[in-house]
Symmetry: C2
Subunit: 227 residues, 2 copies
DNA sequence: ATAATAGTGTCTCTGAGACATTATGAC
DNA sequence: GTCATAATGTCTCAGAGACACTATTAT
């Protein structure tokens, strides 16, 4: 044991929480408390300290923090992103923030004075404390990348959705139009959606078949990598 | 400030270091010291504590640890993998280990009594301390996945290599034969290799063109994600 | 019927893999 | 010349995208 092992870095978890509002990608941010001595009352990523006495692991820390701030929901998608670290990113000292990337249906977010929505931070040129702009950047890259080969965007919906609605979310994330026919072929090949027999979305046109994710397990903590 | 913020978890870095020995994938492991009170003298991943007073960030911790144990080398590939955490994975208490995935040419490893090679741990059914078997598992999945769409396996070579040698490394990692023609087409399309004009590997057959990576930057800390 | 959107079918082009062929050195 | 391996060319097939067409409801 030497001196180095005694200066233990600060350990926090930050969550980049995405949701869709009226067809546009938004972030759920949290206003920092009045009482904190670093960046009080500034909007920032939802985050907090790891509580070694109650959390089973870092994922559990993230779940606890989300539960406290937005009200927990079973249908949240949560995935470890990357650790951000160094002596200067937090004014309190050498710190590690384990970032998580999360997706939640808007209906499951309890918006209040401390929790609010921001249309994609980069577009609004909003300047966030710590290295939160960088973290958001990486998180967005991640969901964009995964959207090219996985069903990930389905997690923006609570219970069920039509293929047209799902396609619109893919288009928003990827920033480009997708051909309807090939989109449906690809989704079908994935074999990950369940047809909700007899359930349709009704509008002023032909009713649309509703689908849901086949397995709730896919909601949880998928591997980082295309298998 | 409450009690939770005072119990700060142990913070370490572990490196899954891959190399190729006579055409087979190996891990570089390190024998734990006699003096440590957890798993003394057992083989384990190369790792150590984060030194807040000297490391600029976690990547820098990983570089320092590698430098001390295997002798640092410019040509190492190093990438953040995933954080492993919880109260039980380390007998000393609630801990976080930031795992890194690394690739090094065999010539750059200073083998000694504490540093040695193991042919793919899973194959040998070797039981490692902590959750190191799990970490190795994830690391292997990662390099396998990246090998399907990137030039990553080129980092197993020090200065230069032939396409045939490179292909053999891909085949070992992916566990399957690759067609020579399409392999070369793919590599060529990546446009990431430099032809070393006039440099050939000589054998008892037609000399083979030598190549190297175009940019040394690609050696370093690539994004997690297929861009 | 018409409007509006859901959902499917067809064609083309590209790219990966299977396989064959040619190239170049040592001997 | 032969042998061994490097390097390239050709063919086929499957999948993605462009686009056109059909289906089903409300009005």
């Amino acid at each position: 044991m030497n001196i180095n092992e005694i200066i233990t870095p600060i350990l926090t978890v930050d969550i980049v929480l995405f949701t869709i509002v009226r067809g546009e990608l938004h972030l759920v941010l949290s206003k920092r408390t009045k009482e904190t001595n670093v960046f009080p009352e500034r909007p920032a990523l939802i985050g907090g300290y790891v509580h070694a006495n109650e959390d089973r692991d870092l994922l559990d820390s993230a779940i606890r923090i989300l539960k406290n701030k937005i009200g927990f929901t079973k249908s949240i998608y949560l995935e470890q992103l990357e650790a951000f670290s160094g002596p200067y990113r937090d004014p309190r000292g050498w710190s590690v923030s384990q970032a998580y990337c999360a997706i939640v249906p808007l209906e499951d977010v309890k918006i209040n004075e401390n929790i609010f929505l921001v249309k994609e931070v980069e577009a609004t040129q909003m300047d966030l404390p710590f290295d939160h702009n960088l973290i958001i950047n990486k998180a967005f890259q991640r969901i964009k990348s995964k959207s090219t080969y996985s069903i990930l965007p389905a997690h923006f919906f609570k219970d069920n959705f039509t293929l047209t609605d799902l396609q619109k979310v893919y288009e928003v994330i990827l920033g480009q139009k997708i051909d309807k026919s090939s989109f449906r072929k690809r989704i079908n090949d994935m074999d990950i959606l369940k047809v909700l027999e007899g359930k349709f979305k009704i509008g002023v046109q032909r009713p649309a078949q509703l689908y849901s994710l086949k397995s709730d397990k896919s909601v949880w903590f998928k591997s980082n990598i295309k298998s």
